[in-house]
Homo-oligomer: 218 residues x 2
């Protein structure tokens, strides 16, 4: 069984090697920085994980996860996202509070627990951040949810959910004339700070990137 530390290295490698489609390998320093350890420490662990056949690694070479390593990493991500969903849906944590606690909960070892938790949550597809939750086989059937801030200028989209549930944010959302299923047209974007000009039911508004980050759209 893997230690929490080993699990964290696998998870970090998973994220580093799947940030973009074009990137599937990572470096020692990069990994070390992600985990807030020194490169020497990461280097030791890489040797250990190579020994356990969880990473592909050669001296001075790039690092990637083996199939086995990837499988384990995805399982940790799955646990993390299910716990985040639990905290958000059942315990009324706000979306920005869930991550920290899930970082701990993801290391609980009990397949039965995760199976039952997933059932209890009614097999959710997305976590509170809009990221897709892998199923028990490690398959990701859906894409992560898009936020308004990712929409191209000129496109029209539909609001399907909000990330933040705070009163202040929701009041702001209403003030802009938005509700679930509202059609939103992106009129322009400021490259400098991501500020958007949008149109909802014929009403134009200017909103910050931070605001747009909190709206899930299709």
């Amino acid at each position: 069984m893997l230690s929490q530390t080993e699990e964290n290295y696998l998870k970090a490698l998973f994220y580093l090697t799947s940030e973009n489609a074009d990137k599937s390998e990572a470096g020692t320093n990069e990994l070390a920085a992600t985990l807030n350890v020194k490169p020497a420490t990461a280097n030791d662990m890489l040797k250990k994980l190579k020994e356990k056949k969880l990473v592909n690694y050669e001296r001075y070479g790039k690092i990637s996860l083996t199939n086995s390593g990837k499988k384990q990493a995805i399982d940790i991500v799955r646990k993390h996202r299910l716990w985040e969903t639990f905290l958000y849906e059942k315990l009324e944590f706000t979306w920005d509070e869930v991550h920290e606690v899930a970082e701990q909960l993801e290391h609980i070892h009990s397949p039965k627990l995760i199976e039952k938790l997933e059932k209890f949550l009614n097999y959710p597809e997305f976590d509170p951040h809009g990221d897709a939750i892998p199923n028990a086989k490690g398959e990701l059937k859906v894409q992560a949810r898009k936020t308004l801030s990712e929409m191209a200028v000129g496109k029209t989209c539909k609001l399907i959910a909000v990330k933040d549930n705070s009163a202040s944010f929701l009041q702001y959302v209403m003030k802009v004339g938005l509700g679930l299923s509202s059609k939103i047209k992106v009129i322009s974007r400021q490259d400098f700070d991501g500020t958007l000009e949008i149109e909802v039911n014929g009403k134009k508004s200017v909103v910050s990137q931070k605001f747009a980050d909190n709206l899930f759209v299709v």
Copy 2:
């Protein structure tokens, strides 16, 4: 912040020093045996916990928890029992499955999580084993509960809790056909060793005093 290991030592000491009213101190070997470590290991840890003012300890002397140590121990017990309740009530774990997973969950550090979990469970008073759950202030209303071994021959009683929650004991309990709220009739007692003949749902069994000592009834 305490490590999981330190927390486990405090918890073990809490149980060892509060098993009976007459016993409020424990020994090194006893503690080591409880935690499945060697006495030398426990001895090292005792020095460390003394340094942190969590235990009262002098060379060759008996061990007890300080107020601070006791407070922390109770908090771990509280978390353990709340998690057991969650697993049992919400995730449909059976009462003999909850302990093992709660042993992991009790070490999650997040006051907010426990606060919200307790609220979600509607401030339960007892865990699935019938043990009282300390409140956020560490207060525990201990009620004098009879054990099956104290019941008079011919009387019928109801199982409300178990004292021991090791897997082997719990499996034995189930084998005899017992569950929470089971009606138990005491048919006979051997004066020599306290062995009891009991009847549960029409099924007769012979159980040891040690076994009966671990069942709380009303």
